[in-house]
Structure formats: structure tokens, C-alpha cells
């Protein structure tokens, strides 16, 4: 009988949660002018390691805005949706944010596949989708004059990155022979595609080409192969959490300090360098931002984030923090939370980010300065900032 009872209770409980969740939307609309912002990111499962930083960055920005009296007096409210890094979950989260929570703006997702699936949903609903961390070039090929009017991206595409890195490596270092070791995702693959496009310009070649799975821990075999291949540098567009592993194993197979890493995978953070100082010496990276970047705004962000969450921010934390502020600026300039007006404001915005001026092109892609750095004596040394127009396929 006790089992019977608990079973019934369990069923009723489940049903109640369901009814509650389905019906709560009817009352969600508030007319007090609160800005409702949705954030879609992976928050559970293996991909949570990327989503966690996004949410924290965005939450911190919201806190700051609230402390400063809101956006022109309006409060800002952030609602999180878990995508698990899976398109179908991401779309469900987006739908919920739009229809149930009645958000006007959505920031998300980290994974490009999820963002691509969110685009038509946001477009149909006329909700602003501001992406801050997906690098698949298709996202903005299809945005703005390309089709999706409501998609914006405040994150660099990989085309500029690939060019800048290759140019610096060829002209300043005189490298011509490369090994590829990138992450097996649209990010890693696309960056190498773009690199290949520019290889002939610098009379360079790729000797070996390997892609590692997200979460891979064993690089010894491939690093031994690279050591014997005669490559002068390893082109790596990868995930931040894999870089220290690669670094340590480079030390093991004896190529640390001989074959540098070039590309982008958070080579510059203090922790990464500390994990394998010898391997990361001489690494060349093109980054949208780095914790060591020397500007007052950036320094203040790093300090505040570290104090608040007991760990240093990474790139995802920064871009989400900056994107919330960017959106707040657009709303402020529009002097309205009317989506259409905010969208117009965003298209013509001049926003002073921690790394420089941000504007959007006609594909709703942010023009962002790319910082080039080299690790010298265990510290990132900034070698310049580059910005270029994107060459959209006709």
C-alpha cells in the first residue's frame, strides 16, 4: 500500500509539474518595461563546461547594469535555457523563452549547430538573436542581407583569424611547413579550410592533418608523428580545455620549445601557460580577447569576475559579458524596448568594447579587432590588432 501511495503521489507530482510549466506562460507577460533577455547555452552534460562561463559572464553584466540603475531606468531580467549543446534541445529552449517567458532578446548558443537551428525560430518570432560564441561562417552568411534579419553575431568568424595567424607565422617567423592539429568540430574544421585558402599566398604547405575529438586526452601518437614530419609549427584551432593536455604531451614527446603552437585555443591564459610553460613558449594566437589585454575596461572585468566566481574568466565569459552590455547600449540608444527599434539601433551602433570599437556590417556580423599575440617568457606579448572586412560568398 505504501508503494501504491508513493506511486500515485509520484504520478500526480509529475503531472502537476507539467501543468504548471505549460500554463505559467499565460501570466508571464509583464508590462512594466522590464527588459527580458534569454540566454541559451549548454548547462548540463559534458558541454556544460562551455555553458557555465557564458552564463556567469552574462549574469555579471546584468548585475552591473542593475547596479547602475538599469537601462535608462529599465530593469533587466535574464532567463536561462539549457541547450545541452544539442540542436533539438536548443530549439526547445528557444521556443520556451519566446512563447512562454516572452523574451524580446536571446543570446546564444555556443555550439554552431544549435545556433543555426535557432535562427529560423527567432526569425519567425521576430525576436532578436544575438550570438556571442559560435564561429560557423554560415551563421552570418545567411544573416542580414543574406536572409535572417533578426540574427546578429558579436563574435569573429574564423576567416580573418586564419589569415592573420598565417601571415604572421610566414612573414615574421618564416614558417612554411605546418602540421594541423585542430578540434573536430565546425570551428576547427572551418578554420583549417580558411587556412588552406591562404596557404598558396605564403607558399606554405600542410604536412600532416589531424582533428581531435572534443574531450580527447591522448595526443602522444599524433605528436610523435608531427615531430617526425618536419613541420615547423602546429596549427591548432581548438578547445581551451585541451590546450594544457596537448602542451604537457608536447613536453613528453620532446617537441616543446621546438615546434610552436599557432592558431587559437586559449594559449595565453595564466593557467594554460603554467600547465606546460615550455610547450607554450613561442605560441602565436589570434584572439578576440585575452585576460591579459591591457585596457582599463578589460582589466576591471577580469578582476571583478575573479572576485565573484573564484576563477579567472575565459573567452566565453568575456564575450557574453560584453554582448549583454552591447545589447543594453542598443536598447538605451533606441530609447525603447521595441524590438524593431532596438534592431535598428544595433545595426548602426558604435560600441566601445574592452578591445575596441564594435560595429555591424550588412550581414549583421560584428567587425571586431583581432588581437595577435605571442607567448614570450611565459607571458602573452601583444603584437598588434587587425580588423578586416569579410569576403562574403556571392
Amino acid at each position: 500500500m505504501t508503494i501504491e501511495l508513493s506511486r500515485r503521489g509520484f504520478c500526480i507530482g509529475t503531472a502537476l509539474v507539467g501543468v504548471q510549466a505549460m500554463s505559467s506562460g499565460a501570466f508571464a507577460r509583464t508590462e512594466d518595461g522590464t527588459v527580458k533577455l534569454g540566454l541559451v547555452a549548454p548547462m548540463s552534460g559534458p558541454n556544460a563546461r562551455y555553458g557555465a562561463f557564458s552564463l556567469r559572464g552574462a549574469q555579471m553584466a546584468v548585475k552591473e547594469i542593475t547596479a547602475a540603475g538599469g537601462i535608462g531606468g529599465r530593469k533587466i531580467n535574464i532567463l536561462a535555457g539549457d541547450s545541452q549543446g544539442t540542436p533539438v534541445e536548443g530549439v526547445s529552449a528557444t521556443r520556451r523563452l519566446i512563447d512562454q517567458d516572452q523574451v524580446d532578446y536571446i543570446i546564444g548558443d555556443v555550439s554552431s549547430s544549435v545556433t543555426l537551428a535557432m535562427q529560423p525560430v527567432a526569425e519567425d518570432a521576430g525576436v532578436l538573436l544575438l550570438n556571442a560564441a559560435s564561429s560557423n561562417p554560415k551563421i552570418t552568411y545567411k544573416a542580414g542581407v543574406g536572409g535572417f534579419k533578426w540574427t546578429y553575431r558579436n563574435y569573429p568568424t574564423d576567416e580573418n583569424r586564419a589569415l592573420i595567424v598565417l601571415q604572421y607565422a610566414a612573414e615574421k617567423k618564416g614558417f612554411t611547413k605546418y602540421a594541423v592539429l585542430s578540434v573536430d568540430s565546425d570551428y576547427g574544421r572551418a578554420a583549417i579550410e580558411f587556412t588552406k585558402k591562404y596557404l598558396p599566398r605564403f607558399k606554405s604547405q600542410i604536412l600532416t592533418e589531424d582533428y581531435y575529438k572534443e574531450g580527447e586526452v591522448d595526443f602522444r601518437s599524433v605528436l610523435s608523428k608531427i615531430r617526425d614530419s618536419g613541420a615547423q609549427a602546429i596549427i591548432m584551432y581548438g578547445n581551451a580545455d585541451s590546450t594544457p593536455i596537448v602542451g604537457r604531451q608536447m613536453m613528453e614527446v620532446g617537441i616543446a620549445g621546438k615546434i610552436p603552437l599557432i592558431g587559437n585555443a586559449e594559449f595565453n591564459t595564466e593557467k594554460t601557460i603554467k600547465a606546460a610553460p615550455k610547450a607554450l613558449e613561442g605560441a602565436i594566437e589570434a584572439a578576440a580577447w585575452l585576460p591579459a589585454y591591457d585596457s582599463a575596461k578589460s582589466k576591471a572585468f577580469v578582476e571583478k569576475f575573479t572576485a565573484e566566481f573564484r576563477e579567472a574568466p575565459n573567452n566565453h565569459a568575456y564575450v557574453h559579458w560584453e554582448t549583454v552590455h552591447l545589447l543594453a547600449k542598443a536598447i538605451e540608444q533606441a530609447q525603447s524596448i521595441d524590438r524593431e527599434k532596438v534592431r535598428a539601433a544595433l545595426s548602426s551602433i558604435h560600441y566601445a568594447s574592452a578591445v575596441g570599437d564594435v560595429t555591424f556590417d550588412d550581414h549583421n556580423q560584428a567587425r571586431l579587432p583581432m588581437i595577435l599575440l605571442e607567448i614570450e617568457n611565459g607571458k602573452p606579448a601583444i603584437k598588434g590588432a587587425y580588423s578586416a572586412e569579410i569576403d562574403y560568398p556571392k
Binding site: Y212, D218, R220, S221, I245, R248, E252, E311
Partner: protein, 290 residues
């Protein structure tokens, strides 16, 4: 050329020893509980987190952290074993799959909830490279190989001579008969599970210094790496599992060198399918349990 092949075989043995320690726990659990444990990688993760916590928050030396990681995982395994795993004994396979998936979700996401989802850096261990017979390895890897051998010999001795070891073998062969002769099946199942989880945790702590990154979802990959090994080795067969782990380690290493790293994760299942086509019960007959 020849040197390259030898070196890649050595690399394979190094990764094979890690797989071996994780897989041997899983295969013993299978032998006794007859359940595919989709949560096995989570114990690997828990062990790593336990040690990371000890080092990061209490500044304890690495050897102490190993003990803490394994003991903490064993304690969690006692809870999970009592509440969940004991009940799966004799249940249909699909019930085992769902229950262990549930356990995996709970463990993984609880860790994310408590420690935050972001990745952490593991700073303990012996990472200086040393050269041995012309091959350079991190000291930690030598430790892993040695511990792998000790675990193997220890398990062999245990299942051959100790009472609980003999009971484990008996239960894996015939549950009903064990009940008849007075072996407490649930008790044996629980201890096997704790031992298996503890071994997974041990391999997690041992590999943490070379794998550096620690995050809540790290166990999933380990689970999927281990599954083909235990099938190839013959479910419940300790010796077979060791050999299968080495074969997989070497095969992966050679594929990563001569085909491409992107194909590495398919090696396990591809080899498994080939093996199964040739020998449907795995390389080593499942009859020779333990």
C-alpha cells in the same frame, strides 16, 4: 620507420594501461550484476574530482589526494550500490541500461551543480619527462603502467585465492546455485561494484596529471571507450579485458599515426565489430570468467 612503429606501440601500451584499469572494474561488475554500466565513467570522474578537491582546497600532496579520491568514490559507490545496483541483479538488460543512465545523469550533473560546469586544472602528479630505452615518457605514465600491473596481479590473486574473490566468480557463473549454497549474492554484488568503482576512480586520479583538464562531463568518453573493450575481452573476463585494452590502445595509436586522429574513437567499435563477426563471444570465451 621501424622506430616510429615501436614508439607508437609503446604509446599504445601507455594508453592501454589506463583503459585496462577502468575496464577491468566494469567487466567485473558485468560479470556479477550482468548489467552494462553506463555510469562507469562517472566513477572515474568522481575519483579525479575528489583528488582535485583535496589538492585545490586543502593543499594536500598528490599521494594523499589519490587515497582521498578513491575513498570518496568508494563511499559514493556504497550508496549507489545499496540503492541502485543491488536491485539490478537479475533484472532485464534494458532496466540496467536505464538505471545506470539515470545514475550517470545524477552524478555528472550534481558535480556540475556543486563545483560549477567549467573545466578545472589538475595540478598534482609527476609530470617531468624521463627517457627510458630511448622513449620519453612522463614519470606519471610509468606509474600508471606499474599500477596497472599491480592491479592485474592483485585481482588475479584475489579471485583465485580469497573467499570473496571465489564468491565473485561463483556468482558470475550461476546466481541461483550461489543462493542455494548460501552465498549472499547481494553482498557479493555490492562488494564487486564498490571494487569496480574504486578501480575506475583510481585510474581517474592516476591519469589526471597527464590529462590536466577536469570537468563534470569527462566520464562519458571513458564509458564509451571502455564498452568495446569489455565486450572484446569477453564479459567478466579479467585477463581478456587486459589483453583487449592493450590491443585497443595499440590499434588506436597506430590509427592516429597512419590514418588520422579523427578516426581514433571509431577504432574501438570498429575493432569490436570485426572481432564479433569472427568470434561472437569476444576474443576470450566468456566462460572463463575472471
Amino acid at each position: 620507420m621501424f622506430y616510429t612503429i615501436i614508439e607508437q606501440v609503446v604509446n599504445g601500451i601507455v594508453s592501454g594501461s589506463v583503459y585496462a584499469i577502468v575496464a577491468v572494474g566494469m567487466t567485473m561488475i558485468f560479470g556479477v550484476l550482468r548489467a552494462i554500466n553506463f555510469a562507469h565513467g562517472e566513477y572515474y570522474m568522481l575519483g579525479t574530482f575528489g583528488a582535485w578537491f583535496a589538492i585545490e582546497y586543502f593543499d594536500l600532496p598528490y599521494p594523499v589526494a589519490i587515497v582521498i579520491g578513491v575513498v570518496a568514490t568508494a563511499v559514493i559507490a556504497v550508496v549507489v550500490g545499496n540503492i541502485v545496483m543491488q536491485r539490478i541483479v537479475g533484472a532485464p538488460a534494458e532496466a540496467g541500461v536505464l538505471a545506470t543512465l539515470g545514475v550517470a545523469l545524477i552524478l555528472q550533473n550534481t558535480v556540475i551543480l556543486v563545483f560549477g560546469g567549467s573545466y578545472k586544472f589538475f595540478s598534482g602528479g609527476y609530470i617531468e619527462p624521463v627517457t627510458l630505452f630511448g622513449f620519453t615518457l612522463a614519470e606519471q605514465r610509468i606509474l600508471i603502467i606499474i599500477v596497472g600491473l599491480i592491479v592485474f596481479i592483485g585481482l588475479e590473486l584475489m579471485v583465485t585465492y580469497s573467499r570473496i574473490g571465489k564468491a565473485m566468480r561463483a556468482v558470475s557463473q550461476n546466481i541461483e546455485c550461489c543462493a542455494v549454497v548460501g552465498i549472499d549474492v547481494r553482498h557479493v554484488a555490492l562488494w564487486t561494484f564498490i571494487l569496480g568503482a574504486g578501480l575506475a576512480a583510481l585510474s581517474g586520479v592516476l591519469t589526471a596529471p597527464v590529462n590536466v583538464s577536469v570537468y563534470g562531463g569527462m566520464g562519458e568518453l571513458i564509458t564509451f571507450k571502455t564498452l568495446p573493450i569489455i565486450i572484446m575481452g569477453g564479459l567478466g573476463n579479467v585477463r581478456g579485458t587486459f589483453v583487449a585494452a592493450m590491443i585497443l590502445g595499440i590499434a588506436e595509436s597506430l590509427v592516429a599515426t597512419y590514418v588520422g586522429l579523427q578516426f581514433r574513437d571509431t577504432v574501438g567499435f570498429a575493432t569490436l565489430m570485426l572481432v564479433l563477426m569472427w568470434r561472437p563471444h569476444g576474443l576470450f570465451s566468456a566462460q572463463a570468467r575472471f
